[in-house]
């Protein structure tokens, strides 16, 4: 019997085992994440809105291959929106590699009050790199549905109304999949633990 096929099989198995071990070492399992791990990774939301410069912004296309943070909020938000954005900006200060390869996208759920100028000025307080998006109420609702979060609801009347909205930051790895979400209360230590892991999740 020709020993060559058997040798080839053995070599293939050994190589497979080595590569498998290497992959495991380089990319830790998403189960180790500190965020709320999704049972099934979510595909990146597909929608197009308008950025603060007035240009159309195809979310899926513009953020392709990047670690992407998607957050639905509004600039008059009294509590969680500014804290989430401040946390991200502060974490990026400690993770320059992550910052270089990330895009933070803030979608307003209050297009009535959040003009492009208002959004830009709000985001600039955290980072001028953060992307701000707006659109018609229908477009924004569609974007929320595409991202799998419940549409925001206006609460109260008058000028000082508030808006009930999804409080979690959706994070998509460079491979285009969302493995975990980050609710309000996520500590900087959690972000710093998870982001390098997610950044390694590149499209094969």
């Amino acid at each position: 019997m020709n020993p060559f096929p058997r040798l080839l099989v053995i070599c293939t198995l050994v190589l497979g085992a080595v590569l498998g071990a290497c992959e495991g070492a380089v990319i830790p399992a998403v189960g180790q994440l500190e965020g709320v791990v999704l049972q099934t990774p979510a595909a990146k939301a597909v929608f197009t809105l308008t950025d603060t410069g007035g240009r159309p912004y195809d979310f899926s296309l513009e953020t392709k291959g990047r670690l992407t943070f998607l957050y639905f909020g509004y600039t008059n938000c009294p509590d969680i929106c500014p804290v989430h954005l401040a946390q991200l900006a502060e974490v990026f200060g400690q993770l320059p590699e992550v910052r270089r390869n990330s895009t933070v996208v803030f979608v307003t759920v209050d297009p009535e009050r959040d003009t492009p100028e208002v959004i830009r000025s709000f985001l600039d307080a955290f980072s001028s790199d953060f992307v701000g998006l707006s659109g018609s109420p229908e477009e924004i609702e569609a974007a929320q549905r595409a991202a799998g979060v419940p549409p925001a609801v206006k609460e109260g009347g008058g000028e000082k109304y508030t808006i009930g909205h999804a409080g979690q930051v959706l994070v998509y790895a460079p491979d285009g999949l969302g493995y975990s979400v980050y609710p309000f209360g996520t500590r900087q230590s959690d972000w710093i633990h998870d982001l390098p892991i997610l950044l390694e999740r590149v499209e094969s």
Partner: protein
Amino acid sequence: MNISWWCTALSEPWSWTFRAYPGVWLVVAALAGGYAVAVRSNRDVEGLSLRETGFFIAGLLVFWVASDWPLGTLGAGYLASAHMVQYVLYVLVAAPLLWLGTPEWLARRVLASTGVYRAGRSLRRFPLLMGAIFNVTLILSHTPIAVDTLRPTQFGSFAMDALWLLSGLALWAPIVGSITEFTQRSYPARMLYLFFTTGVVTILPASFLTFASLPLYRTYELAPRVFGLTAINDQQIAGLIMKLSAVPIIWPVLAGMMYRWATSERASA
């Protein structure tokens, strides 16, 4: 108007809108009222100097400023640095002033009624115990679990403030306490006590705060940012306040003691 019993962590953005804390006013009024009643009822027996009254009022005012809006609000839920300013005011300013303003007969009466006097008398190494109480309180009350558990509730926040003031009174009892049996007699012993109790253990939590790469307290990390300070910068400032607060407060006291010691030595020579 926003009213609550005691300052506590809030989720809304910081604003300069006044908040009322009747609990703080009640405690200040109770301390002032109790002092006035005690002094009035003992006027015939023993006198009270204007200096003592002044010290007590100053101590009470410092306690009030540290506990009430705006510093109390900022310290309870927005800024670790404000929390540390509160701590310094309670422990290093209000506590010694309150001691200096309390005449011996009043201190004896208060301590006897609470059983503290008997416990203190039975202890041979009273200053060591006071130093230990101060430092254990310092360490424990600045652990993340203590801050993040106590600050979000009014009662917890009140308990933390009360604990700080009491630990401050314990710290200063051997130095400026009114009860002679509990005070250190010699100036060198006083100076050593003050230097070691306030200058050694403090370095540990202060260094943690100053050099940590991440925010330690959930309460301040997840609070709306104030004055453009990042959570980590705020924490570093808190650490520096803890570490450096001894410089303008403890060192002048040590210098004063040194001067008095030298004067008394010269006089006795």
